[in-house]
Amino acid sequence: MATKNVMIVGVGGQGTLLASKLLGKMLITKGYDVKVSEVHGMSQRGGNVVTYVRYGEHVYSPIIDKGEADIILSFELLEAARWTEYLKKDGVIITNSQQINPMPVITGAMEYPEDLVGKIKAKGINIDAFDALSLAEEAGSSKAVNLVLMGKISKLFDFTEEAWLEAIEQSVPEKFIEMNKKAFHLGRNA
């Protein structure tokens, strides 16, 4: 099979690394070759972050380039808009509708663009925006946004919910397992 590409984008501190680790862990169980590329260091401090998950028979490059992403999973609306060029022709964007103001907006130098979902749709892009933050809060913590989003895209993969939950158990600290499982479940049914 051709290499499949999932980009996970968001704002430093939102938990994109755990999401990519979880997905990588699931894909390797199916016998795929998998590469996951992460960002560490300075970019993590509230800057935009992107991790790449690639899988297939043999994956060479660890990164995803323009026009290659089958799925862009975005943790924040502006970040979904930032990466549209990376989407493949029939690719899909799944995004949290939450808005986090970047510094140029905070300082008033720029405005947070309005109706980004509409503008992305107008470009013929398949985008699914939903409020992952509220579901995370419902699960017990705003920090569980990553698991809500993983739940949402889990439907696009051929794994059972049980397999996902097992991977979550192995990936998060014990005291947060139940909350994360709940967040995942809420996302999967959103």
Binding site: V11, K35, V36, G41, Q44, R45, Y60, A81, E85
Partner: protein, 576 residues
């Protein structure tokens, strides 16, 4: 067993499997996780050294004692460790020794884009370069064999995209080689002129032997391609991009031993193809070598020297069309990294800006004090350069600048190489003020312990430097400690120390807001009835504060309740 592993973790796994028993490193993105992962193996002694020079010398000491050792650093750390590097190239090793260095093409988290391969050439030390995690593990094990067979340290070179990408590795068992007993050998290890003169020809002979090895080592390989009109010579992550674009179309010479480079192998490869392209990030090291041995290649004229490559970049240069996705017409605001909500550095930078102080900065999270709206830092060069730089700045200005300049430096960076600059300030007497931003951790690289925190790399309690006592013992009589959350105190102490007619140190002490043990009072809120929309609270660039409909709004998922903004509000709108 097959596992998904970060490139850096795979190096650590290689160290473990090869029986490495000593690791000494200084953290630096993208190299940090090698040593963190190594520390998780109980069989490996692993430590954070105060800087890369100490790390390399300590690792060499362990090799001298007969054990397999490792030291890790980022590319600029190699500059700090360059002194021992060049001489241990002469002495060679007892137990095998690997020097891990991670370059950062594209400068994801670095101040320059230097190519570490120059060090391997200059120090005449073999360098190995993996292209994914599998190779990182295998090459690490092989590096120890090369080190011991050829009596040399070996440099393992990573780049961000290999260090910070996970791919599948095959793990094996740990095999500890027989210990090499320490034997006194003055001619080999005491590098005074009489002995070093005899060692240099041995190094030259070693390079010849390693060049012969480069012709046959499994580290270098030719992959066949159907279309021989062109052949590609490449290494590291560039190899992956080439294969992504061209697959099996063109023959590829994939180099894993990048110093010394093979000669006959390259000539033979070139003879079997039409034109030869060299794909390498940063400098044209392989290209220059090819030209030196009379092989005509194209390299930097196509690909350039700056930034990191990608599959599309390679494709474009090879004339293959790329189809990008749709771009929005909207101007998307950039999202640069910023100081976190509750960051203890914020109050100090606000105070410095307010007092119109010229700030010489250093390397760490606090370099972000240079960005809007604080725009407080005017200089940032390398680890420790703030403290040495302010001394020169103030001396050169003959007393005209000393009451309006400060150096700012973090706790870890101060111990790394700021303390020597402070000794210079005291010894040669400049009227300089140094602010140590003591957040009780090495922040930017992801919370590593250091000699000021009281904990070591393994997480065990250990001795802790008393910064106040250290500064006094150097000869700084004025040492003040402030809480950066207290703006009034910051302002008063800063003014006093700038006015003082002697060197001074201000220790701004408050642990990093992201440390797990730090308890936050909880988010504050804005009373919209009281808020007059004056934007005083916006001066500190806190990501938790925004203005909505001309009123301040606090994001309670980000706000830690540090209270810095409440001290700026003139109408008492911000608070619990």
């Amino acid at each position: 067993m097959k596992k998904l592993m970060l490139g850096n973790e795979a190096v650590a796994r290689g160290l473990y499997e090869a029986g490495c028993s000593f690791v000494s490193s200084y953290p630096g993105t993208p190299s940090t996780e090698i040593s963190e992962a190594a520390a998780k193996y109980p069989e490996i002694y692993a430590e954070w050294a105060p800087n890369e020079k100490v790390a390399m010398e300590s690792a060499f000491g362990a090799s001298f004692a007969g054990k397999r050792s490792f030291c890790g650093m980022k590319h600029v750390g190699m500059n700090v460790a360059a002194d021992p590097l060049f001489t241990i190239g002469y002495t060679g090793v007892n137990g095998g020794m690997i020097i891990g260095v991670a370059d950062d093409p594209g400068m994801h988290s670095s101040q320059n884009e230097q190519d570490s391969r120059h060090y391997a050439i200059a120090a005449k030390i073999p360098m190995i370069e993996p292209s994914d995690s599998k190779e990182a593990l295998e090459f690490t094990k092989l590096a120890y064999e090369i080190s011991e067979e050829f009596d040399t340290p070996v440099i393992m070179k990573m780049v961000t995209r290999v260090a910070h990408s996970q791919s599948i590795v095959e793990t094996g068992d740990r095999v500890v080689p027989d210990a090499k007993p320490y034997e006194k050998n003055i001619q080999k290890y005491v590098m005074m002129p009489g002995n070093a003169i005899k060692r240099h020809p041995i190094v030259e002979e070693r390079t010849k032997a390693l060049t012969q090895y480069a012709e046959v080592t499994p580290l270098n390989r030719v992959e066949d391609g159907k279309d021989t009109s062109m052949g590609i010579i490449t290494s590291s992550t560039s190899y992956q991009y080439v294969k992504e674009v061209a697959g099996d179309k063109y023959p590829v010479l994939k180099l894993g031993l990048v110093n010394p480079l093979p000669v006959d192998m390259i000539k033979k490869f070139a003879a079997a193809v039409g034109k030869v392209i060299v794909v390498e990030e940063l400098d044209g090291i392989i290209e220059t070598h090819c030209k030196n041995i009379g092989v005509n290649v194209q390299g930097k004229e196509l690909f350039g020297y700056c930034g990191e490559f990608s599959q599309n970049y390679i494709a474009e240069k090879l004339g293959i069309a790329i189809e990008a996705g749709p771009k929005l017409d909207e101007n998307i605001p950039v999202r640069p990294p910023i100081m976190c909500a509750g960051c203890p550095h914020r109050g100090i930078f606000y105070t410095l800006k307010k007092n119109k102080v010229t700030v010489l900065g250093d390397i760490g999270c606090y370099t972000l004090g240079a960005v809007a709206p604080l725009n407080a830092i005017e200089y940032s060069i390398c680890m420790g350069a703030s403290v040495s730089g302010i001394h020169g700045f103030n001396k050169a200005n003959e007393g005209a600048s000393d009451n309006k300049t400060v150096a700012v430096i973090g706790d870890s960076t101060f111990i790394h190489s700021g303390v020597t600059g402070l000794i210079n300030i005291a010894y040669n007497g400049s009227n300089s003020t140094v602010i140590i931003l003591d957040n009780s951790i090495t922040g930017m690289t992801g919370h590593q312990q250091n000699p000021t925190t009281g904990f070591n790399l393994k997480g065990d309690p250990c001795s802790k430097i008393d910064l106040e006592a250290l500064c006094r013992s150097i000869g700084i009589n004025r040492v003040r400690v402030i809480d950066p959350y207290d703006l009034k105190e910051c302002d008063e102490v800063l003014k006093e120390e700038l006015a003082a007619e002697e060197p001074s140190v201000i220790i701004s002490r408050r642990p990093c807001a992201l440390l797990k043990y730090v308890k936050h009072p909880g988010a504050i809120s804005c009373d919209a009835d009281k808020c007059v929309g004056c934007k005083s609270c916006m001066q500190i660039g806190c990501p938790a504060i925004s203005i909505v409909d001309k009123k301040a709004v606090i994001d309670n998922t980000l706000c830690t309740g540090c209270g810095v903004c409440t001290q700026l509000c003139k109408v008492g709108a911000l608070g619990k």
